[in-house]
């Protein structure tokens, strides 16, 4: 009997102890409100949406960080000059190993790999969201296709800047090995295959009613006019494919892919824009229909609180002008008058972008203001404070536009010219020229068509982050500049890799050209 009670006592004590400790553990279960924990993530429609937009947001961050998109693409050997910043001067002169903080930051590729890691993770994990009935398989297929396209696009960006880069298709997740660089052709091949594979799964437009029920209507609760071409669609995939082919020098495919974009442009509501639209609303993502023309663009929507000070070319180029007073007196970079004269020769007449009015001799101020002063202000892109700003509050909303229809037309013309279809090429070129109010060219076999096309790209895409990569393609085609040939042959066309990246991974070697 005593023994029986003893047993019960022990059991009772054990039971209370158990209840006690489990209650304690429950008290200690306080989830963080500042993050979403792994547990239960990737089970809901919202998780997929957040992950998808996260990838786009990270991509935008990679391009905007320290104005990398322009520092990497626009400045080197380009038309802009630095007013006084020595770091920008170093970039413009190609002294990319100068040790300014800016150069250390923009040569760091980590943010592009954050996009890639996020995409890898998304592709691996988003399947779990199918548990949510709202997340249908059409969402799933479309989202994964986008993630793969984003990843391929990030690899394109990496290769065109640094050449050989490590190809990462897994998520790591705590097991962070030191990978070596992969041959750039292999990386581009991977990106190309991925895009070829997913292009057909991407729609021309999002949120439209699809009679075949392949694509979800009202995608993530937003109308087609809300999305416009913000997300990567089928034409975006072909545009990236065309650029990958151009980077590989495979101009036959450039012609094919870019032609596909041109042929189907209307299906994504892409048009060419007038000069007024170009310097007016094109760079602001708004309810205006012209925003459809941001074919691949990363937007900063004013109403959604996405205005920022850095991450826009305006931060570098804008300054006080008589027409647009700002407190900043001088820009960081500007196009000097000699370069403007080269860009917009008098022979072209009154180019709508920049020219001289034959009646009164005054300059057309679509691209530049303060032309009469020593340092003109480049104002082609000027979206201040939601587009309505008067310049006193220098916060910007311009989208980072990678490509638009004009760019594709010119790329198509370039490809046609290279493959020897000059007459077709000149038609494309003349279409652009006439849009900007300059006379067309006549086709003659003597005409240096490629030079003309690149000259038009230089005018049309000024300030859009293309100049350096255009120069590389041009010189690869022409091979007429010995200094540039040396750059091409020795790998100097690629950027050095940040010391921080090299410190973190012993298997990464500096680009040879910058290793001397």
């Amino acid at each position: 009997m005593k023994r029986f009670f003893y047993k019960w006592k022990v059991a009772l004590i054990a039971f209370t102890a158990m209840v006690f400790t489990s209650a304690c553990n429950k008290q200690l279960d306080v989830p963080s409100t500042r993050q979403a924990s792994e547990e239960g993530h990737w089970t809901k429609y919202e998780d997929a949406r957040a992950g998808l937009l996260g990838m786009y947001g990270l991509f935008r961050a990679a391009l905007a960080d320290n104005n990398a998109y322009w520092v990497l693409g626009e400045l080197r050997n380009g038309d802009f000059e630095a007013v006084s910043r020595p770091d920008l001067k170093a970039v413009i002169e190609g002294n990319l190993n100068a040790s300014f903080p800016l150069l250390n930051d923009v040569t760091n590729w980590r943010r592009f790999y954050a996009v890639i890691n996020a995409s890898n993770l998304f592709i691996e994990r988003v399947e779990g969201c199918l548990a949510d009935p709202r997340y249908t398989s059409s969402y799933y297929k479309l989202d994964v296709a986008q993630a793969r396209a984003i990843r391929a696009f990030a690899y394109y960006m990496l290769v065109r800047t640094w050449g050989d880069v490590p190809l990462v298709t897994s998520t790591g997740e705590g097991n962070f090995e030191n990978l070596a660089r992969t041959n750039k052709e292999a990386v581009l091949g991977f990106a190309k295959n991925e895009l070829m594979d997913v292009a057909g799964r991407l729609p021309y437009q999002y949120s439209t009613v699809d009679p075949d029920l392949v694509y979800p209507p009202n995608y993530y609760g937003r109308a087609a006019a809300d999305w416009k071409n913000t997300l990567l669609g089928r034409l975006s995939a072909y545009a990236i494919l065309a650029h990958i082919a151009a980077l590989q020098g495979d101009y036959i495919n450039v012609a094919v892919y870019s032609q596909f974009v041109l042929d189907n442009a209307a299906r994504a509501r892409l048009t060419t824009v007038t000069t007024g639209q170009l310097t007016g609303g094109l760079f602001l993502f708004s309810t205006d229909n012209v925003s459809w023309n941001q074919m691949i663009g990363f937007n900063f929507i004013y109403e959604r609180g996405e205005s920022s000070i850095s991450g826009h070319i305006e931060q570098l180029t804008l300054a006080n002008t008589t027409a647009f007073p700002m407190s900043k007196q001088l820009p960081d970079i500007y196009v000097n008058k000699d370069s403007i004269a080269v860009l917009f020769p008098r022979a072209n007449g009154n180019d709508q972008r920049f020219g001289f009015n034959p009646l009164n001799g005054l300059a057309t101020e679509a691209y530049f203001e303060n032309f009469s002063s020593a340092i003109p202000v480049f104002k082609k892109i000027r979206v201040v404070d939601g587009g309505g700003g008067d310049g006193t509050f220098a916060r910007y909303n311009s989208s980072i536009i990678f490509t638009r229809l004009e760019e594709m037309i010119l790329l198509n013309a370039e490809a046609l010219a290279v493959v020897g279809r000059g007459e077709e090429a000149i038609q494309k070129l003349n279409a652009i020229r006439s849009n900007r109010g300059i006379p067309g060219l006549n086709y003659t076999p003597q005409l240096d068509l490629i030079t003309e096309i690149f000259a038009e790209r230089r005018r049309e895409l000024l300030g859009e982050g293309w100049r350096w990569y255009d120069l590389v393609r041009y010189n690869k085609l022409k091979r007429s500049n010995p200094a540039f040939n040396e750059l091409i042959d020795e790998g100097g066309i690629y950027w050095p890799i940040a010391q921080d990246v090299l410190n973190r991974n012993a298997n990464i070697r500096q680009n040879n050209y910058w290793n001397q």
């Binding site: 200690l28 957040a50 020595p86 973190r504 990464i508």
Partner: protein
């Protein structure tokens, strides 16, 4: 939802508390009317419900250091950090600015992690207990939404400035491992134990204390544009191109411009004699069964610079009631309100505004123009700025001490600490290129602490005694803030956004007029512990103590939630050996060891890999959406967090020897210690190809070894003569060393910091200078390649620094940087003397920090004016103090400031300065009216005159070696530590 319930709970609790106070108070008044002739001394003393295990209780002033409160009472200081400064061996205090009420830092026995950011700084702070309640502090998680981390958003007022020294009974600094272990993991960095004056029985006692004085204007050497022009000319003459001359800064270009080249008299407006004062009174009384104390005070502290000041209102109320003889119920309720007038620094303002205007033209040194600029800050001016900073703090407890049987004691307490910070800011258009700015912050930190313990005393054999105690602790914290800011309200008179309050309306609560950015933030954590203490004493000679506790923290991951702390100590009193009369009059030795867990202050580690909003980039940390839809990703910027993070812990050993010489007229205390902090988390750099800025890994170990030495010499004893003289001093020597890194690595580079095992964690990683290349031909040529020496690939030229090529590869890069110096002092301490003659007394106090280095960013950015100015970043801001010579820069070599190698970069030994100092902290002259001949109505009446911050002895190049940031960077931004003189009176009657 949770906030609401917790607030409701809180309110409920306060209400119940008030009611109980009132009932107690009313009951008390009955008692005082009919005073009970209760001479029974067995009534339990007032309690705060907690007890720490003290070793060496009978020797204070060394192992558990006690701060000389008597001295502090006569100094116009306001914060706990200031009270402690220089008074305790092993405690080092940083005051990086003299601005009153700003945050200050304390370190007990060194740092156990490199101070990479304000988060690590926060994690190194000791815990402060006031009447046994562990205080909450502002959690640094708010920095995540900030663009710059100069100041935390909100009032950023020092929460430890809330305690009036006249209300403090004692301050102790606890360093002993056994005592720390008995306080739990919160105390792993050491603890400050503050006991306020409590209610007491007896005839009612009133004391009134007050002082009044001024902070004096410093004498500064002012400059104008001519000075700056002269400073720059040699650089232009030697290295400047025509183009560089064309880009000469506009404010220096025209020497006829009187705004810049004219009179430099801005100091008339910037530095002012500012009053600093205090008045407080307390009333206590009651019987032994029921007594009370009330304390109220008003303190104003001001700095001479930039019209900065700090105002504090204190109210404290204590009631002790013994309903039955064996039970004492004690309660406390304290309220403090702090207000702060902040500086008008441009940098601090721009950091809050998140906007960098065109900084080409600085403020003028001319007081007319500067005066019209200052007008924008005038609150009485119609469109003047608003910058209100308020903290409301409430603390309280209800504690029970019951001894129902001989030897058995129950201690219980429910305590809370709640403090809220409110900041309202409005800066008019004139201050930012025609853009105004409005922001609002409300945040609170809330802690509920419940503790219960039961102890029993046994008599073991004839001469032994054993005390056993067991109990439980529960602490629940909430940290919350709501922050919103907006630019460009319709005009400078409209400072709020009008919204439609009708929930049915379409534009319900949608702001119109201007766009508001809103950031809520909340963090919650809990800590549970069960503890057991044991103390065995034998013949009052030998004392053995042990502590075991099991603690669970909600900030740890589920599988590593619990940790066991344990510690043990031995103490032996050699009183039988030394005897009372010998040269050595007393001698006690002790040794103790503790194994104490270290808490994480951030809740983001408790879930392992997680998803966060991380769409921002450099300069835009808060961007959270893309196309207006929130996006989530892995924490690429803040670092990967994996599973299996164990508790970090601190193994501490202390061996002490305490001796009294010459009838204890000379008391010496020596402690030798080693603190090994292990398994700590460190954000380790990983291959960039995974996208993460870092990955948190545990395994860092930092060892601090050193010794504390304290002494007190009663050179002329108090008793016999009219003249008495006491000399006291303390000194600490501390050395830290990195013992291990995660993954068994031997070194790691994180930005500009390098950690190497075996080296100190607070070393600077710098290049070594060896002069200048006067011509291109001077640059050494690599014989194997025929190329001249480069800096990271850029060929060095004339005018570039001759950096030492440590590894001899003809390339200067990070491999040529060396670890040198340390920003924590190796030696610190203080000494003072109290001299009394009849009714007069004269006290002085010195403090010092030696073997300490600083990196001089002030000199670096002044010399690197080319890059500083053109980059137009927050570091290009020129304050009005730009027109003050804080340091003579002519001794530096002249390099080519346009060079692409950035010759005046900060990380070189050219800017490594000795920042050791010795300061005369205060001199105080007192006259005691109630002592000796003068008979007055007062129990005590003391008049005194105190001067503070009177003398500095230092070899430091900048203006003040104390005004250096926590991480050893001197940038000249700190406001002066003013000299002040006060006259005061202390009366008890």
């Amino acid at each position: 939802m949770r906030i609401v319930t917790s607030l409701a709970l809180m309110r409920h609790f306060i209400f119940v508390f008030f009611v109980s106070c009132c009932t107690v108070a009313s009951g008390q008044s009955d008692v005082s009317e009919t005073p009970v002739a209760d001479s029974d001394t067995s009534i339990a003393p007032p309690t705060n419900g907690v007890a720490i295990l003290r070793t060496a209780q009978n020797i204070r002033g060394s192992l558990i250091n006690e701060v000389p409160v008597k001295l502090i009472e006569r100094q116009p200081y306001i914060s706990v950090q200031q009270y402690l400064k220089g008074n305790v061996a092993g405690l080092y205090v940083q005051e990086p600015t003299g601005e009153p009420g700003t945050e200050q830092n304390m370190f007990i026995r060194g740092i156990s992690s490199p101070l990479l950011s304000k988060r690590e700084l926060f994690d190194q702070q000791p815990v402060v207990f006031v009447n046994g309640i562990p205080l909450t502090q502002d959690n640094p998680f708010a920095y995540e939404i900030q663009k710059y981390d100069f100041n935390r958003i909100g009032p950023a007022t020092n929460l430890l400035a809330a305690y009036n020294q006249d209300n403090i009974e004692s301050i102790e600094v606890i360093k002993d491992p056994v005592a720390l272990a008995s306080l739990g993991s919160m105390a792993a960095n050491g603890a400050i134990w503050i006991t306020t004056k409590n209610a007491r029985s007896g005839f009612r006692e009133i004391s009134i204390n007050s002082y009044y004085g001024y902070a004096a204007k410093p004498s500064v050497y002012v400059t104008n544009a001519a000075y700056e022009n002269n400073f720059r000319q040699p650089f232009y003459n030697r290295f400047g191109s025509i183009n560089d001359r064309l880009n000469y800064p506009p404010y220096l270009r025209d020497s006829t411009n009187a705004d810049y080249y004219g009179a430099s008299n801005w100091t008339d407006l910037y530095y002012q004699y500012s009053p600093t004062y205090n008045v407080d009174a307390s009333l206590s009384g009651g019987s032994e069964r029921a007594n009370f104390r009330f304390f109220g005070g008003l303190t104003e502290n001001a700095n001479t610079a930039d019209a900065t000041s700090f105002t504090r209102y204190n109210g404290n109320f204590f009631i002790n009631v013994a309903p039955v003889k064996w039970m004492m119920i004690s309660s406390m309720l304290g309220y403090t309100r702090q207000q702060r007038e902040r500086n008008r620094n441009i940098r601090d303002r721009l950091a809050e505004q998140r906007y960098i205007p065109d900084l080409t033209n600085p403020l003028t040194p001319n007081n007319v123009l500067y005066g019209s600029y200052l007008k924008n800050f005038d609150k009485d001016f119609a469109t003047g700025a608003i910058d209100d900073n308020v903290n409301n703090m409430i603390q309280g407890y209800l504690a029970i001490n019951a001894t129902p049987f001989e030897g058995l004691a129950y201690n219980g307490r429910i305590g809370f600490d709640y403090n809220e910070g409110i900041r309202d800011v409005f800066w008019p258009r004139a201050l930012l290129e025609g853009n105004n700015f409005v922001s609002n912050y409300f945040g609170y930190n809330q802690r509920l602490a419940v503790t219960n313990s039961l102890s029993y005393n046994w008599t073991v054999g004839q001469e032994g005694g054993l005390m056993l105690r067991g109990g439980q602790n529960f602490i629940s914290d909430i940290y919350k803030y709501d922050y919103a800011y907006a630019n460009n309200t319709p005009n400078d008179f409209i400072k709020i956004n009008v919204v439609n309050g009708d929930p049915n309306a379409q534009e319900y609560l949608i702001p119109r007029g201007f766009l508001v950015s809103y950031f809520p933030g909340k963090m919650q954590s809990r800590l549970i512990s069960f503890f057991g203490n044991a103390t065995y004493t034998h013949q009052e000679l030998l004392k053995l103590s042990a502590v075991v506790s099991r603690e669970g923290s909600s900030n740890m991951q589920a599988d590593n939630r619990w940790f066991t702390n344990y510690s043990g100590g031995i103490e032996y009193d050699f009183k039988n050996l030394v005897g009372e009369s010998g040269t050595i009059s007393s001698l006690i030795a002790n040794a103790s060891y503790g194994h104490i867990g270290k808490l994480l202050s951030d809740d983001r580690f408790n879930a392992g890999p997680a998803y966060r909003v991380d769409l921002g980039f450099t300069g835009e940390p808060t961007l959270g959406s893309y196309s207006g839809i929130g996006g989530l990703s892995r924490p690429y910027s803040s670092g990967w967090v994996g599973y299996g993070i164990p508790w970090a812990y601190s193994d501490q050993v202390n061996i002490g020897l305490h001796a009294g010489l010459l009838e204890n007229r000379v008391r010496l205390g020596l402690d030798v210690y080693k603190k090994a902090d292990k398994d700590m988390l460190l954000p380790m750099p990983i291959a960039a190809e995974w996208g993460y800025a870092s990955s948190y890994k545990s395994g860092m170990e930092v060892d601090n070894t050193g010794l504390d030495f304290s002494f007190a010499a009663q050179i002329l004893p108090e008793m016999q003569q009219n003249l008495s003289w006491l000399f006291t001093g303390n000194i600490n020597y501390n050395k830290n060393s990195l013992a291990a890194l995660p993954d068994g690595l031997s070194e790691v580079v994180m930005g500009t910091t390098k950690l190497e095992t075996g080296k100190p964690v607070d070393a600077f990683w710098i290049l070594k200078n060896n002069g200048v290349y006067s011509s291109d031909a001077d640059v050494p040529v690599n014989p194997s390649t025929g190329r001249p020496m480069t800096y990271k690939g850029v060929t060095l030229k004339a005018g570039d620094p001759r950096w030492v090529d440590v590894n001899g590869d003809y390339t200067i890069n990070d491999n040529d940087k060396v670890l040198e110096g340390n920003y924590m002092p190796k030696v610190s301490g203080g000494f003072g003397s109290n001299l009394a003659y009849n009714s007069f007394s004269l006290d002085f106090q010195f403090y010092f920090a030696l073997k300490r280095m600083a990196l001089n960013q002030y000199a670096s950015s002044r010399l690197d004016f080319i890059n500083t100015e053109v980059n137009n970043t927050i570091n290009s801001v020129k304050e009005i103090t730009f027109w003050e010579e804080k340091q003579n820069l002519s001794a530096y070599p002249i390099y080519n400031p346009w060079s692409p190698v950035v010759p005046y970069r900060l990380e070189q030994d050219l800017f490594l300065d000795n920042a050791s100092y010795l300061k005369l902290r205060s001199v105080s002259l007192g006259y005691d009216l109630s002592r000796g001949g003068t008979k007055t109505a007062f129990k005590k009446c003391m008049l005194y005159l105190t001067g503070t911050n009177l003398l500095t002895f230092t070899g430091f190049k900048g203006d003040d070696p104390e005004l250096i940031n926590y991480n050893g960077i001197y940038n000249g931004y700190g406001l002066v530590n003013p000299r002040s003189l006060i006259i005061g009176i202390r009366m008890d009657f």
